[in-house]
Amino acid sequence: MLINRRKFIQQASLASAAILSSSLLKVNAADDPAETLTILHTNDTHSRLDPFPNDGSRNAGLGGIAARSEIIKKIRSEVSNVLLLDAGDIFQGTPYFNVFKGEAEIKAMSLLGYDAATIGNHDFDAGVDNLATQLQHASFPILICNYDFRGTSMEGKSLPYKIFQKGNLKIGVTGIGIQLKGNVAENLYGKTVYQDPIVSSNLVAEALKSQHKCDLVICLSHLGDKYEDDKISDEILAKESYDIDLIIGAHTHKLFTQPRKYRNRKNNDVIVNQVGWMGLHLGRLDYVFNRSGKKNLAQSHTVVIGKKTSD
């Protein structure tokens, strides 16, 4: 194990220096016990389907879902295990939403082959019925474990989690939404009931790890990265969690300069990441997994974070 691990790290760093880094990684991964997974993620894209207009403003010409699609396609052609995820607030922000109520956004995300998304507060902006209507156009599941939609038109339209088999890896993904009262007008969310995100996500994550034997548990979160007061955030969730490995954040529109790392209740590392808003950036996390051996069982897991040197 140790030799293989060293060898892999060596190859990984060599590979990152090379132009064809990703294809090298792919080749090496095949005859190595280590597995790799590339997570691509967005949050708070806010109906920004077109690039920002070329009007000399700060974000002029940046973004756009067609350009994002091309970047994603290229990455998918270079590495084998890819998950494309979104952490909510797909709706509201450009006239596309005002005119089509989210249809164009959901159809475009389906075209890009998103694997899953969770719900943000703005996704209720044209009401819970509209959200259910627009999700008919989704080819990807909406994952959320702390909204009880019983008695609403969203009933049966979301899943608490989904397990993705990527190569030899089993990846469990769940999602959590923000407190509705105060963030969404009552007439818009209707009978949707918000439940404690820590309790809900810990229950799901435990099932994903223990029962379903997932190698990685990802939580798509629309809570926000952190607040000055004790309001529930990704930071608090990370520290209060037991089985979550990665939180893909949203709501606070923060472009992290590097992923944040916390220790959970089991003293394992939890990584939190967020990539601004409006689809100006695509977040990318390249994971390297090692085989679980006797040595690792009882010990806490540390995840080494490094900046990717080439794209």
């Binding site: 067609a66 350009a67 699609s69 990685l216 996390l285 390297v288 490094g306």
Partner: protein
């Protein structure tokens, strides 16, 4: 790697982990990057083709004429036609949407990003004017707090009001009339604002932050659009003037 060896490892892992996590792999390292979507990227033609009919139809919707302005609704402090028009839109449409009488509606001066030119008004004009997705929020505000808030607005060179009149004296709100009556510091008024202003606005004021808020998810931009459309439906043009709602007594 040898398949048999792999199976053997799997078995040993299962045996070792009977009551621990039985995962086969654990995350050891992660490399991160944030790829900016720049102008230089090529665009996916399939996605562009998908978007085209939506964009065309959206642009058509945006160029739709929703009303007609007899005068240019321009912006100026302390009082201006645009501000009066917007504050009236918030008050009138807010009362309709919330089903409740609003005493005062307030519009922050910096929130309007364009004026309404004389002539045909398009939906695009409204989006240019109000690109933000601000919500109309109602609050029950005590007279003394409302006075403080108008002082704050007066000090900023004045905001637009509907339902109220006042003078600016020593950069404070003076002789404040609500619904034609002098402001009663002990009374409670229904005040409309945007969520942006209540959250603190551009300078993080905290005057209204802790007062309970009533929202029906009504965008201020929709209120402006519907207010204009209401005139059009009645066969009337849109107009606004300076009505001495806010008078500067300092000069």
């Amino acid at each position: 790697m040898n398949k048999y060896l792999q199976v053997a490892i799997s078995i040993s892992v299962v045996v070792c982990q009977l009551n621990a996590n039985a995962q086969k792999y654990y995350p050891a390292e992660v490399q991160y990057s944030y790829r900016q979507v720049t102008k230089q990227e090529t665009s996916d033609s399939a996605v562009l083709n998908f978007l085209k009919p939506y964009r065309d139809s959206m642009q058509k919707a945006m160029s739709k004429v929703i009303g007609f302005a007899t005068v240019t609704l321009y912006q100026k402090q302390p009082e201006c036609p645009l501000g009066n028009f917007l504050a009236d839109a918030m008050k009138t449409m807010g009362e309709k949407k919330f089903g409740k009488k609003i005493d005062v509606a307030l519009v922050n001066y910096g929130g309007s990003r364009a004026y309404i030119p004389k002539g045909e008004i398009t939906l695009q004009n409204v989006f240019d004017l109000m690109p933000y997705d601000n919500l109309v929020i109602l609050q029950e505000v005590k007279g003394n707090v409302l006075k403080k808030f108008l002082d704050y607005a007066a000090n900023k060179g004045n905001w637009s009001v509907s339902g109220a009149k006042f003078q600016v004296k020593d950069r404070k709100a003076d002789s404040i009339y609500i619904n034609g009556q002098l402001l009663d510091e002990a009374a409670t008024y229904i005040v409309a604002n945007t969520d942006y202003v209540i959250r603190g606005g551009s300078d993080n004021q905290t005057l209204l932050k802790d007062i309970p808020q009533v929202s029906v998810g009504y965008l201020f931009r929709d209120a402006i659009t519907e207010y204009i459309e209401q005139f059009t439906k009645q066969g009337k043009p849109v107009t606004a003037a300076i009505e001495r709602r806010v008078v500067n007594a300092d000069q």
